[in-house]
Amino acid sequence: MFLNQSLPERLEERGVSRRAFMAFCGVMASTLALPASYRTAIAEALGTVRRPVLVWRQFQDCAGNSESILRSPQPDVAQIVLETLAWNYHELIMAGSGEQAEAQSTQAVRDFKGQYIAVIEGAIPTGDGFCTIGGRSALDLAREVAGNAKFTLAVGACAWDGGIVQHGPTGGQGVQDVVPGATVVNLGGCPHNPVNTVAVLVHYLTFNEMPALDQYNRPLFAYGDLIHDQCERRAYFDAGLFVESWGDEGHRKGYCLYKMGCKGPIATYNCPNVRWNDGTSWPVQAGGTCIGCASHDFWTNSSPFYGRLPNVSGFGADTTAETVGVGLLVGVTALMAAHGVGKGLQAARARETAGASTEEAGTPEAGAPPVEAAAPAAEATAEDGVAEPPPPQTPDTGSEGGRDANQD
């Protein structure tokens, strides 16, 4: 199953220099929140002669996640990962159809059992007939492909938690719910950002294991930080400068979109840092709101998409930024605790910010430890049906340990 040439050798034949290759490895290290020195380790790992098999299966999907991987940035160089893998099955772009296509999937499962990587896109219905491929049910295929893989990447919201499909009449679910024994890494987002997915694969090829995951089995490097904390418009939020209507002066100047319904304060993702389409932009930069598409069941928790986040009592034309800050931070702190997200660093940052913006208001929550603040705030937001539900298990499982381990 191996090639005779190392990846840098193959790339050099294609005119991709060692220098460009190392630059790519540097970007990957940065995305993975690894120290820059890991660039060399990544390069060495990618330079070895091996080529694991990958099977990409689409079920109740829109192909948005497939399209997204086609936009994987840095053309010649990010294709590294595509060429580093034997991409044996992918309905959207594979050459053969019908029986010839299905044979690729069944052969990979048979010949590389426990060794190949599965990628699943789309939800999986459990009822007969809602999704069949080659006459077989999606459930049957998902159990075969995800159940025998070394690990499975569930890309996009639908493969993670059922996404938009779970709101429909078929009740389609995520991979982890229908293939209980599978080792699943969830890469939520609508769609997933290919930079993160490529980075997970690079991490696996470099360290032979998955990066640190949160309690939703999402990689912390991508899902560990609040959009709001990384947002380039954050200073306007803190200063109380908001877009009031589409195309107004504040909108043109890039003010905060909170009042237009932005869900950045309750959503985690590395959107503002890695951005999209070769780092070109991301929704808030372009002038739109964040819809929290990488959050759990975001269709339930973010709609109404133009509704302002709750717990901002008395918000109106004469409300000060300080008031806004108080209300939001309760929710934000709760969310971070609920997510078990980068506990130490984030809590410190939240306390700092809370202290600054609530100095005058002097709310008791402001300086409280995040976990304690979490419970009442999480209840409050859940009642409003907008914030994410509390996690199914202890908040900080594996979170900070994971990232620290990476850096050791």
Binding site: E91, I93, G129, F130, H167, G168, Q285, I291, C293, F305
Partner: protein, 574 residues
């Protein structure tokens, strides 16, 4: 008589199955089945119509943006919001670049391998390929070194014994007819197109924040502010960014896409007589210089052609559109099976009665698809690039008649050749060249407006739901890469009461109706030659020529609000 099936049809969006009877080496009858259902239309019921586009856009990630645009148009039509010219321009830039991007990906990534034998390219002489390339195009990547690099890249993969995505192809099939050098040229451009598409679609990232699923549509306009003096808005640097990518599109279409389509068409002249059979064509029209409500300014006119009568382009009346479910896995209320419902009355009540998986064959005498059967005045219509080009050609649109006539002349064929598998392929390439010129015009106009101080991007007078009538309904047409897409919305007391989408692939891939009329794919496949029933590449050529998008074709947004779960129907399309 041999019965064959292709499931899954790959290199398309979604899950499509074809069954066919083959006799005497030709298809005598065919059935197209969409084998996946999500149920997205109903999901938006009871919600704020201003956010319907966010949900509807998820009907498809390949046709990303198209459902968003159709959705905001439908809601604007209902509530009377009027997007300012700049918003129309930004939407046009998003839609036009989507069309060009999508067509190029279709030709290279989704369709080319039906015509191009990648293993034959390994035997090509790079120097000879270079001479061939330079004889048909000015595209600068044409040196012997460039082509030998591609050969080496292919050899590396082939020698590994792991052919990856290419492992399952029909290589060596007698239906392949290109020389090794022609195959190498096409494979090189397959790889170049992959790289090109990643860059040009950054237009969507700039204007929409990301692609797929841009995030800046707004009922009444766009959420993309314009300000020549702000780094946070569409400004002169953004205009330059757009222009550079439009220029890249223009170059790639002129130097790569169109020459390659002509190369394929010249090598497969018989495919200008195969895959036709469809007789009626429909387009909503669009891509104009004015407001979407001003159909007179459309570059591609709205219209209907019945029975290939190019002398009479008929007006399109959306009231004549209806859908049937006689052969689809749905139930209609009451009288049922023979009923044809207009989208405003549309119902999507799933009722799977097909075989229990795993199964070998569908029951094609009964219900056999998740697609409904849309009809226009009861007639089967083909939609898509061919329909657009035919209506524009028959209407005498100069930009279209010029390129169509010159292309037909180059190939030495008459207009009848358009009614074919290759006719669809050619129409897609020609309209790409036309739309890219519109893209330039739109960006110039946007630049002009910005420079002269028109910074309006949204009509916010109808943003507040209290400004809406207590009940209203609207139609949102959008001519998208795969054809005529329509969204219909009914609004009551500020929320969505009913929502329906009728999508291009639903038109084209439709199953039979109550009268037994086959859909467009099913018609087009009849007569297609089949050299080897175990490797039916010829059927794929015709099916792929429509550029199927099954997620669109079976779109259901299910409305689940206030604890109540109803079955709703949404059809999307593109």
């Amino acid at each position: 008589m041999t019965r064959i099936k292709i499931d899954p049809v790959t290199r398309i969006e979604g899950h499509l199955r074809i069954e066919a009877e083959v006799s005497g080496g030709k298809v005598t009858e065919a059935w197209a089945s969409g084998t996946m259902f999500r149920g997205i239309e109903k999901i938006v019921e009871g919600r704020d119509p201003r956010e319907a586009w966010i949900w509807a856009q998820r009907i498809c990630g390949v046709c990303t943006t198209v459902h968003a645009i159709a959705s905001v148009r439908a809601v604007e039509d209902a509530i009377g919001a009027t997007p300012p010219p700049n918003a129309e321009l930004v939407r046009n830039l998003i839609a036009g670049s989507q069309l060009v991007h999508d067509h190029v990906i279709h030709f290279y990534q989704l369709h080319a391998l039906d015509w191009v034998d990648i293993t034959s390219a390994l035997k090509a002489d790079p120097a000879k390929t270079s001479r061939l390339a330079q004889s048909i195009s000015d595209y600068p990547s044409s040196s012997p070194t460039y082509f030998s690099g591609v050969v080496n890249r292919l050899k590396t993969v082939a020698d590994s014994g792991q052919l990856s995505l290419f492992a399952s192809g029909y290589w060596g099939h007698p239906a392949y007819r290109l020389t090794p050098e022609e195959n190498l040229l096409a494979v090189a451009h397959y790889l170049d197109a992959l790289e090109w598409q990643r860059d040009v679609i950054r237009i969507h990232a700039l204007l929409g924040g990301k692609n797929p699923h841009p995030q800046t549509f707004v009922v009444g306009g766009m959420a993309t502010p314009i300000d020549p003096n702000s780094p946070q808005a569409i400004n002169p640097a953004a205009i330059d960014f757009l222009r550079a990518r439009i220029e890249s599109m223009r170059t790639f279409i002129a130097q790569v896409y169109i020459p390659d389509v002509l190369l394929v068409a010249s090598a497969y002249p018989d495919w200008t007589t195969i895959g036709g059979n469809t007789r009626n064509f429909m387009t909503y029209g669009g891509y104009g210089t004015g407001s979407v409500s001003d159909t007179a300014t459309y570059l591609f006119p709205r219209g209907i052609i019945m029975d290939r009568d190019l002398a009479h382009v008929l007006p399109m009346d959306q009231e004549k559109i209806s859908e049937q479910v006689a052969r689809s896995w749905y139930s209609y209320p009451g009288s049922g099976e023979a009923t044809a419902l207009h989208p405003y009355q549309g119902v999507t009540d799933a009722n799977y009665t097909g075989p229990t998986p795993p199964y070998q064959w569908l029951e094609t005498n009964g219900k056999y698809s998740w697609l409904k059967a849309p009809r226009y005045g009861g007639a089967v219509m083909e939609v898509g690039p061919l329909a657009r080009v035919l209506v524009a050609y028959a209407s005498g649109v100069p930009a279209v008649t010029k390129v169509v006539n010159s292309t037909l002349k180059k190939l030495g064929v008459g207009p009848a050749a358009l009614y074919s598998t290759l006719g669809r392929v050619a129409a897609r390439a020609l309209e790409s060249a036309i739309v890219v010129e519109q893209l330039s015009a739109w960006v110039d106009e946007l630049d002009h407006n910005m420079t002269f101080g028109d910074l309006r991007i949204a009509d916010t007078t109808k943003w507040d739901p209290s400004s809406w009538p207590s009940s209203a309904r609207g139609f949102g047409p959008h001519e998208v890469p795969r054809g005529a897409l329509g969204h219909w919305v009914e609004i009551s007391d500020g929320t969505i009461k009913n929502y329906q989408a009728v999508v291009p692939t639903t038109w084209n891939a439709s199953p039979r109706d109550a009268q037994g009329q086959p859909g467009a794919y099913e018609q087009a496949l009849v007569g297609t030659p089949v050299a080897d029933p175990t490797r039916p590449i010829e059927l794929l050529r015709t099916v792929h020529s429509f550029d199927p998008c099954l997620a669109c074709a079976v779109h259901v947004l299910d409305a689940e609000r206030a604890g109540e779960r109803t079955i709703v129907t949404v059809e999307a399309g593109r």
